[in-house]
């Protein structure tokens, strides 16, 4: 669907805000804004990728944290081994580490997706959730990589021309990655592949009756979506220089799903707003109470029952 | 007893009923006739509250059925034998009769007397019955709710002639007991003997209502609206 004029305007303003964020942070002497911005960008990447699966293909995966966490652990583990000399130092270069994280997530998703897509409907939700939890337990049990306590990373993956402690520069890296991913997803949405996914979501039986074997396309969407989550995970671990099993916890999967629906399902950019809303709400509520979930829960129920079009739909004047 | 006035209904964007008028009096057998796709089943679904009409009124014993949920309508005393039978396949024959029964004159024993085949198969799962037996079960199930009005939607379609005859005989017996019946069917020959009045609909509109004798007086009517 075409974006409304209002949506285009809001998008422009938001992009300008995000570009100017470090300046604003410096001016208001709130350097934490930069970290917050990076966090939003990283989660937005994962949520936008998930929307390819939920909103475009109609496959509600409840296990997306697995790919997010696998991508994160991939860079974390490579850094450990580069540190103790069992892997060459260049594996901590971003040009290698990040594509490697993407690849790890994609390959794992290829195997798990091939299994999950043998069923549909509610079973698909349960199975994706269960397999993600399997990876969670795996990393909890992997004491060599910190187990429950998680895994620290001494310095960020090296990006040419950027200092390892330069948070502002890293923020821009995340922002560029987000814009790149959104651009990619936009292209996919309008490509032949994207139109096939659209068709599968709307009426899979009909698509089969006109000659489509849907399995391969659903699997491809699953893998692409996981690969994007892998990139987001790698950036997330870089941002906080820390990987923990929490990255793969089922609540993470749930939160990514919430970001997609809150922002606007099937809209490419909507999930960015969903991610921003979640992160900001969390930070805002956390100032008042450590029990911020007690507010978040009812908000979620209300959004599901009352406001289906999400933030992006509301901006566009749809309900 | 049952009265439908100017009923209109649609599936999504496509209207199917444009103006249905129909009456069933106490103790009467009325047949609703018309070719396939003319709106008979949709009319029944509107009566049962399974679908909302867009306009028009449906009343039963003077009560407006608009907005009532299906179970409340059924409890006013309408017993549905749906198109396609829809017996509960995983339940036994006996359980099908008992699951939705309401107290009254009808008991499992009386149903068994009416349809001896169901007695033989009482402990069998309904999925294993033949089409004709499933039809008998669907009728028995509706009777077990002790309805004031029995509604049958295409109860003989696709059945073997012998089974069909058995079902017509059963409806005649029910009529003799004073049971009010609304029967949707295409079988003119059998309905001539059974029905007190007939209503013919075409393309979602009531085209004609009258007695079987009046239908015979205008032979082109049957040919025009019902002919193969």
């Amino acid at each position: 669907m075409a974006d409304t004029k209002r949506q285009a305007m809001v998008l422009g303003v938001c992009l300008a805000l995000m570009v100017a964020l470090p300046a604003i942070a410096a001016w208001t002497a709130r350097p934490d804004f930069v970290t917050l911005g990076s966090q939003i960008a990283v989660l937005a990447i994962a949520a936008a990728g998930l929307d390819l699966l939920i909103g475009r293909t109609g496959l509600p995966s409840f296990g997306h944290a697995a790919w997010f966490g696998l991508g994160g652990y991939a860079v974390g583990i490579m850094a450990v081994h580069a540190g103790d000399g069992s892997l060459p130092g260049w594996v901590t270069q971003a040009w290698f580490a990040w594509p490697a994280a993407v690849l790890v997530a994609a390959l794992a998703a290829l195997v798990i997706g091939a299994l999950c897509l043998r069923t549909g409907g509610v079973s698909f939700i349960m199975i994706t959730l269960a397999f993600a939890q399997m990876f969670y337990f795996l990393f909890v049990a992997l004491s060599a990589y910190g187990g429950d306590d998680g895994l620290g990373m001494r310095r960020r993956n090296a990006v040419p021309g950027i200092g390892p402690r330069d948070d502002v520069a890293f923020y821009y890296v995340c922002l560029v990655a987000l814009v790149g991913v959104l651009f990619l997803l936009r292209r996919i949405a309008r490509s032949r592949f994207g139109l096939v996914l659209d068709g599968i979501r709307q009426n899979e039986r009909r698509m089969m009756a006109i000659g489509l074997a849907p399995y391969r396309y659903k699997l491809a969407a699953f893998v692409i979506s996981a690969a994007i989550a892998g990139l987001a995970g790698a950036l997330h671990v870089n941002l906080f220089r820390f990987a923990s099993p929490d990255l793969l916890h089922w609540t993470m999967s749930g939160e990514l799903m919430v970001m997609v629906v809150l922002g606007g399902i099937g809209t490419v950019v909507g999930p960015v707003f969903g991610a921003a809303a979640m992160v900001l709400l969390h930070n805002f509520l956390a100032q008042w109470t450590e029990h911020w979930m007690i507010v978040m829960g009812p908000i979620l129920v209300g959004v599901v029952l009352l406001a289906r079009a999400g933030i992006w739909g509301a901006i566009g004047g749809r309900r | 007893m049952l009265s439908i006035r100017g009923l209109q209904a649609a599936y999504g964007h496509s209207p199917v009923l444009f103006g249905i008028d129909l009456d069933v009096g106490a103790g009467e057998v009325v047949s609703l006739m018309g070719r396939n796709g003319m709106g008979k089943t949709t009319t029944i679904r509107c009566v049962m509250g399974l679908m909302r009409g867009r306009a028009g009124a449906i009343t039963f014993h003077g009560r407006d059925l608009a907005g009532m949920p299906p179970h409340a309508i059924a409890r006013l005393g309408i017993g549905l034998v749906p198109e396609g039978r829809l017996v509960f396949p995983t339940l036994t024959v006996r359980e099908n009769l008992l699951a939705t029964a309401r107290p009254g004159a009808w008991t499992v024993a009386r149903i068994h007397a009416l349809f001896p085949r169901l007695a033989e198969r009482a402990q069998q799962r309904a999925a294993t019955l033949s089409g004709g037996e499933q039809q008998m079960l669907a009728i028995g199930r509706a009777l077990m709710t002790n309805p004031r009005l029995l509604v049958l939607d295409e109860a003989t379609e696709g059945l073997a002639p012998l089974i069909r005859a058995e079902i017509w005989a059963c409806l005649a017996a029910l009529k003799a007991e004073g049971q009010s019946i609304l029967v949707v069917d295409k079988n003119l020959a059998a309905l001539r003997h059974l029905a007190d009045r007939m209503t013919i609909i075409e393309k979602g509109r009531t085209m004609w209502s009258g007695t079987p004798a009046e239908l015979d007086a205008g032979p082109d009517l049957a040919q025009r609206f019902l002919g193969v």
Binding site: R187, I188, R190, S191, R192, F193, G194, L195, V196, D198, G199, Q202, N203, R205, R206, M207, M208, A209, I210, G211, L212, A213, Y217, A220 | Y11, G12, H13, S14, V16, R35, N36, G37, E83, G84, P89, R125, A127, T128, L129, S130, G131, E133, Q134, E154, T156, E157, G158, L159, A160, P161, R164, A165, K186, N187, L188, A189, A190, K203, V228
Partner: protein, 247 residues
């Protein structure tokens, strides 16, 4: 006679119901073959088995001499056998044009193309517009399928099936829910395809059946009780009985 479609001894049971009972049926290339019978006679079950949605319990299905009994639905479509649905089945949010264009796209090969904008690609939309023209929907190309009138949706349904360029079209009640003028238009549309594509037509509208069919098979309890020209079928007392039960 050459055989485009042949069913040999097809059987299908659902629990205690025999839906298809040792059915044999032959359709010649270009023939319009109507399958009629009362509700519950098993017509839709036959369509389901030929289209590949239901697996027969016994018997085989052959398309142009090749056994397709175990082929998947998409593979049957590629072999030239396409169905339309009794209850209209479209991509509701997509435009009429896109509903046909996606068929065109699938026919042209795999869709693992991620980058190029496909929405306005003339390789997709060109043939799709031509097809919409053919079924009389050209003026409605940009309307979402769910907003089309019921008759137009039926036309679009047919356009999607035709766009797969089938050798045999399975039409499951194409007139369902159409008004008299719409039925006539649809009948004319199908008549115009006569000779170009063979059809297995399930339909209750006897005017349409007798206007279109080369041969008619009457199904009762899953068995073919008659298979003949429309004229002979009309005169056949067993057929009258099957419909009206005048035993």
């Amino acid at each position: 006679m050459t055989k485009l479609l042949e069913l040999r001894g097809l059987c299908k049971r659902f629990g205690g119901l025999v839906a298809t009972d040792a059915l044999d049926l032959v359709i010649a290339p270009g023939e319009i073959h109507a399958l009629i019978g009362p509700n519950g006679a098993g017509k839709t079950t036959v369509i389901g088995q030929v289209a590949g949605e239901l697996r027969p319990d016994a018997g085989s299905i052959h398309l142009a001499g090749a056994d397709i009994t175990r082929l998947s639905i998409p593979a049957r479509v590629r072999a030239g056998l396409t169905r339309s649905f009794q209850v209209t089945s479209l991509l509701p949010q997509s435009s009429a044009l896109e509903n046909v264009a996606i068929v065109e796209q699938l026919r042209q090969g795999h869709s693992f193309r991620f980058w190029r904008d496909a929405g306005g690609d003339p390789a997709r939309t060109g043939p799709a517009r031509a097809m919409l023209e053919r079924v009389g929907l050209a003026a409605r190309a940009d309307i979402p399928a769910e907003d089309l009138a019921h008759g137009e949706q039926r036309q679009l349904e047919l356009a999607m099936a035709l766009a797969t360029q089938p050798r045999l079209l399975l039409l499951d009640e194409p007139m369902a829910g159409l008004g008299p003028t719409e039925s006539a238009a649809m009948t004319a549309l199908l008549a115009g395809l006569k000779g170009q594509v063979a059809m297995l037509l399930v339909e209750h509208d006897m005017d349409a059946v007798f206007a279109l069919a080369d041969r008619v098979t009457v199904l009762l309890h899953g068995r073919a009780i008659a298979c003949d020209t429309p004229a002979s079928i009309r005169a056949n007392p067993a057929v009258r009985d099957a419909y009206l039960g005048e035993a």
